[in-house]
């Protein structure tokens, strides 16, 4: 007869599964951590011969710092633009008043479906023609592709969750649609707007494919800088940069795990 307490096999299996997941998920990230503090690490020693923060302090000056500040600037501009442009689209979509609705919405989801690289390569050709290649505005434009998609969908979900009866109550008292939107709907949707902004900001900060094609070598953000360092076998520099790039996302995961809805999380899979 089986006992209800977990069998020995079950417990061993559970422990093994936990250990495997831990090693598989944390292992690669841990090796980044090791490399980021390895001032000297000659193969095949299992640990660095000399450990220090030399490469971390280098992060705070020169090229990497410039890449970081430029990336944050680009991400800020992208976030403001994406939200400002996405709000009307999302509101009309949530209230099913978007002209040519399904067609317009298709435009805002297809960038998710198509492979990015060939489209961005083609955009680069156009940007060269328009003198946008290698400029900050060009990079912002490329970041807006993903940024607009994320913003429109998260904001549509946020607006849709606000019952139309709340707006109707305001309109019933004589407020115009626009006034109602700014006084009732937008304040109520603020948590969704904030989530949307965070999502767009992170997308822009981490964007690599478009930045590499449109921006490089004149506009370098942190992901591109990390790629160059990794390719040049500057493993310490690349690892430090990689860890810095992970910080915002992991902090967000830790802080917002309870609040972020699954559909928002799903977007991160495409970063």
């Amino acid at each position: 007869m089986r006992s209800p307490s977990p069998s020995l096999l079950g417990l061993v299996g559970r422990a093994a599964l936990g250990a495997l997941v831990l090693v598989a998920v944390v292992g690669p990230l841990l090796s980044l951590g090791l490399w980021s503090v390895a001032e000297r690490w000659h193969w095949p020693a299992p640990f660095p011969q000399q450990v220090g923060m030399k490469y971390w302090s280098r992060m705070l000056q020169g090229d990497p710092l410039r890449a970081l500040t430029r990336g944050v600037t680009i991400a800020s501009v992208t976030t403001v633009l994406a939200l400002a442009m996405a709000v009307p689209v999302a509101y009309l979509a949530a209230r099913r008043r978007l002209p040519a609705g399904p067609l317009a919405l298709a435009l805002f989801i297809l960038p998710q479906a198509f492979p990015q690289l060939p489209v961005f390569a083609s955009a680069t050709v156009l940007f060269y023609r328009w003198n946008l290649a290698g400029t900050v505005p060009g990079v912002v434009l490329i970041h807006l592709v993903g940024g607009l998609v994320y913003a429109v969908w998260t904001l549509t979900a946020a607006f849709r969750s606000i019952g139309p009866e709340l707006e109707e109550a305001a309109q019933n008292l004589g407020a115009s649609t626009t006034r109602t939107f700014f006084r009732v709907t937008l304040p109520l949707a603020m948590p969704g707007v904030v989530a949307s902004a965070i999502l767009v900001f992170l997308h822009s900060l981490d964007e690599f494919n478009g930045t590499l094609l449109v921006g490089a070598p004149y506009v370098t953000t942190l992901p591109v800088y990390m790629y160059t360092a990794s390719l040049g076998y500057e493993l310490q520099i690349a690892s430090v940069t990689a860890l810095v790039l992970m910080v915002p996302g992991v902090v967000l995961l830790l802080l917002l795990e309870r609040f972020l809805r699954a559909e928002y999380l799903a977007f991160f899979g495409h970063l």
Binding site: M1, R2, S3, P4, S5
Partner: protein, 342 residues
Amino acid sequence: MEVRVEGLVKRYGRVLALAGVNHVFPSGALTAVVGPSGCGKTTLLRVLAGFVQPEEGRVWMDGRDVTGVPPQARRCALVFQNYALWPHMTVFDNVAFGLRLQRLPASEVERRVREALALVELDRVPGIERRRPKELSGGQQQRVALARALAVRPGLLLLDEPLSNLDAKVRQRVRGEIRTLQRRTGITTVYVTHDQEEALSIADDLVVMDGGRIVQSGRPEEVYAHPEDPFVAEFLGSTNVLNGTVGPDGRILPSSEGRLLFRAEDTALWPAGQSLPPDYAWAPAEVVDCLFLGHVYRAYVRLGDTVVLADTKARVGPGQVVVAVPRDRLLVFSGSEPAARR
């Protein structure tokens, strides 16, 4: 299979779902467990099935302690309230699921599935074994769920509100069929419901639960006629409750010392002023309304500051009457406060 439970206790957070339940479910009988929602009846059923582990207490099946035994090793079959028929499987695959897990040969599986479908009289519907659950009516789904449970020849059949998803007409019919089926197979059955009429009509053995406890159990006629507890009396049948006592002359006097309970069908209305036989308790009252229920009329009678119900053969007009209840149908409880449990 005789099932015995002793001292079952189960908490969900701060809610006491089972507060020390003791009972013997007789072998071969259909025991109906009835009570209001939240009384612990479903938890009791899930403890019997093995899906819920009690914090205290033991479960015996045929004298064997099965308290820690997982569901699959208990020879219990549970019919779920929503039937839980797997939507992606045909009727045949649904019924065959348990048999295939027992690694029976295909021919035996086929034979047992047909046998189970015949038992619930689904064999008359041609080709039903190839259909999927959503192509069946509610009543048919219910029968498939029963067939799936019976196919594995369980020692104990557990039914969780099996009729609650059916409409009223079908419910009456399926109720009778479940009764017949249980008689024919002789499987020990525990039937959970919140519907007192359903429980009374179907049970060999009736268990009334409230607040995680068994309040009373016994033959349904016995429990109905002799409730040991105001709650049972109120729960079963249309029962009037009055705060009062019976005086030496049989007159009902308002009082906070006692509670009087009597059923609408035991309540007679006599013309005002007429003298009553001595074995009646009575009180002057006023008819306020009278509704036609089909088989009887139900009069609403104002008695002091409460309204009591009385079932009569003929319509009664508004006016003064005497409410009369045979003394042996009157339940007298001391104290007017509701039982602490409620």
